[in-house]
């Protein structure tokens, strides 16, 4: 168990900087997830924590001890790799026990700890098998067993589920969560999958292009994304972005030709300026064509089982709307897309920084009521 402190960490490869000053604090027992698009530097950061990459600048401390110059094994971190990285020539038992063997743990003690980890991960029946004789999920569990037996201060995961098929991925995700509940070990989990990130994280870090965009609980980040990037990255289907202009009294003109009364205090200082308006597909309402809302026609409907997503053509950008219940809308129908002011997010047009809006979770009830009215 440990806390982890990252201060102004930078990384350059051949004068090309890929991490531009990362600051993070991770409390004892937290499950921290780092999420971001491919190539944004997640693995690099994780490998710097592990000690597999040099730290170009800044410090990384575990339990208030700077570990910049410590060998990986001396940092007390265990890592689970994307492609498992098991020792092909060793049995499951030997794989899990190898770190203990190196640490000089006696044979009986080793056997006991391996058995314990194997039981926890339901690997008891496979101890004599080689990695090649295991399924992907089992291999991943062996990799976790190898991490667990060391009783590390810190667990590091680098996209450990991306090589599994969809069903197994969900299953292993739940297992990892359960394991964390049980061991409450400080963990850093890297993924590019936003669903994985949202479901696993106690604390979520969204990264983009070598920088931290936002840190918070999944709920906080979802409700109040700090930038248009974060807003667009988290949530599926992705948030809709519409160009807009702030009018007097904080009212909004949504381009090209919808006006909406917002009365937002936050927007007053932006009067007369163009902004980006973000709205999640699940916060929009489809209704019969009317003077209110954005006129549109339904181009395509995607069936998701529990819900359906309508992709609508407007005079502006395409807008995705999640349809709840048994709304009887068909492809080709003319509709009006209803907006609730309290669900709008506002971002600066040039740099995507958040200006306000969107915190109105208590109004969700009200929107449901409206929804019925639209039907």
């Amino acid at each position: 168990m440990a806390n982890l402190q990252i201060a102004n960490a930078r990384k350059s490869y051949d004068n090309k900087q890929v991490l531009h000053g990362i600051d993070l604090h991770i409390e004892d027992g937290t499950f921290l997830v780092i999420v971001g698009p491919s190539g944004c530097g997640k693995s690099t950061l994780l490998r710097m924590i592990a000690g597999l990459e040099d730290i170009t600048d800044g410090t990384i401390s575990i339990d208030d001890e700077v570990v910049n110059d410590l060998e990986p094994s001396a940092r007390g971190c265990a890592m689970v790799f994307q492609n498992y990285a098991l020792y092909p020539h060793m049995s499951v038992e030997q794989n899990i026990g190898y770190p203990l063997k190196i640490a000089g743990v006696s044979k009986p003690e080793r056997a006991r700890k391996v058995a314990e980890a194997a039981a926890l991960l339901e690997l008891g029946d496979y101890l004599d098998r080689r990695p090649a004789q295991l399924s992907g999920g089992q291999r991943q569990r062996v990799a976790m067993g190898r991490a667990i037996v060391r009783e590390p201060r810190l667990f590091l995961f680098d996209e450990p589920l991306s090589n599994l098929d969809a069903k197994l991925r969900v299953q292993m995700r739940i297992e990892i969560k359960r394991l964390h509940r049980r061991l409450s070990a400080t963990s850093v989990f890297v993924t590019h999958d936003q669903v994985e990130a949202m479901t696993l994280a106690d604390k979520l870090v969204v990264m983009n292009a070598g920088k931290v965009e936002q840190v918070g609980t999944p709920g906080e980040i979802y409700r109040a994304p700090a930038s248009a990037f974060v807003a667009g990255f988290l949530g599926a289907p992705a948030m809709n972005f519409l160009p807009g202009k702030v009018l007097q009294q904080g009212n909004l003109h949504i381009l090209p030709n919808t006006e909406i009364a917002v009365h937002s205090q936050e927007l007053h200082q932006w009067t007369g300026r163009e902004i980006t308006i973000g709205i999640r597909p699940e916060s929009l309402l489809l209704g019969k064509p009317s003077a209110e809302g954005i006129p549109a026609h339904v181009d395509l409907i995607e069936e998701l089982g529990g819900s359906r997503v309508a992709y609508c053509r407007t005079d502006g950008p395409e807008i995705a709307v999640v349809m709840h219940g048994d709304l009887t809308v068909r492809e080709g129908d003319r509709v009006s897309i209803g907006l609730l002011p309290e669900h709008l997010h506002f971002f600066e047009k040039t740099n995507g920084q958040r200006l306000g809006g969107g915190q109105a979770s208590q109004q969700a009830q009200a929107s449901r009521a409206m929804h019925v009215a639209f039907n």
Binding site: A50, L52, E71, P72, S73, C77, A78, M79, F81, Q82, N83, A85, L86, Y87, P88, H89, Y98, P99, I102, A103, R146, R150
Partner: protein, 290 residues
């Protein structure tokens, strides 16, 4: 409708069987060719064995089997030169060279595969170039060196120039470079140092290629002729290839005993081929040598 669906599969099956027959004919032709070619390859070995069984005055007979097969040539060869001693010497030299070349090869390859250091590519290229240097270029310097060390006519001198082989180093470097990086990193995270990682993680996983390499080194050392010829003085301190050559004298060649000694010399190699057949074939394929 029904007739159509019925007739369709029949016509395709007719087509398929014709296709199959053609493939079978091709396969038969291919096998026949390979049998003929392997006869060409095996015949000299057979001829060596048969000649070793012929009496002296029948040595140039062309019959496929001698009228009176005898082991006289073997008896003579064994009495004329210390064959057992020479076989033992060859075995010692070949085993030692194999072991040492594997050791130096593994160590050097690990260095090249795992670390970047100053002039590493240059040094690697130099090692590659030594492969292209013919023995005629180095034999005089090597001879002088060995002579100054006082090792002429001794087994260590036969081993000494073979402490490292460019071929072994390069082959092992390639396979170590191809070794999965994550597994090495996992070992590092688990606390394994470089030495331990080499012997406990890399080498066990490369045992296929190492075994192949060992076979290649062993066979080529066993068959080496030139360097021992240069170095050896006495029959007790030389290898079997030189022993065989002792039946070729200025007065003439004793073909019978020569064939007998050759048969004995190739016995261990034949044994390797038979016992480790699959490994040998793989090793030749892997190294790109045929």
């Amino acid at each position: 409708m029904t007739t159509e669906t019925l007739s369709l599969p029949m016509s395709t099956s007719g087509l398929q069987s014709r296709k199959k027959r053609r493939q079978a004919n091709l396969a038969i032709a291919g096998h026949a060719l390979m049998i003929v070619m392997s006869l060409f390859a095996v015949f000299p070995v057979y001829w060596m064995l048969v000649s070793s069984l012929r009496a002296e005055n029948h040595i140039f007979d062309t019959a496929l089997w001698p009228d009176a097969a005898s082991l006289d040539n073997y008896a003579y060869a064994l009495s004329a030169i210390p064959i057992w001693r020479m076989l033992w010497n060859t075995l010692v030299v070949s085993a030692a060279v194999t072991f040492i070349q594997l050791l130096t090869g593994i160590a050097a390859a690990y260095g090249f595969a795992r670390w970047r250091f100053r002039f590493d590519k240059f040094v690697y290229a130099l090692i590659g170039l030594t492969w292209l240097v013919p023995i005629q270029v180095v034999m005089i310097p090597n001879y002088l060196l060995v002579a100054r060390m006082g090792l002429l006519d001794s087994l260590p001198a036969l081993i000494l120039p073979h402490f490292a082989s460019a071929f072994a180093i390069m082959l092992l470097t390639q396979s170590m470079r191809a070794f999965p990086k994550e597994v090495l990193e996992a070992a590092r995270m688990d606390g394994a140092g470089s030495w331990r990682t080499l012997w406990e993680v890399i080498v066990p996983n490369l045992r296929g290629i190492i075994a192949s390499l060992a076979i290649l080194i062993f066979i080529s050392t066993w068959n080496e002729y030139f360097w021992p010829l240069l170095l050896s003085r006495s029959a007790e301190n030389t290898v079997i290839q030189i022993g065989i050559q002792m039946f070729i004298t200025q007065e003439g060649t004793s073909w019978g005993p020569l064939m007998a000694a050759s048969s004995l010399a190739s016995l261990p190699i034949l044994l390797i081929y038979v016992v480790l057949q699959r490994q040998v074939i793989q090793s030749f394929m892997k190294s790109g040598i045929r």
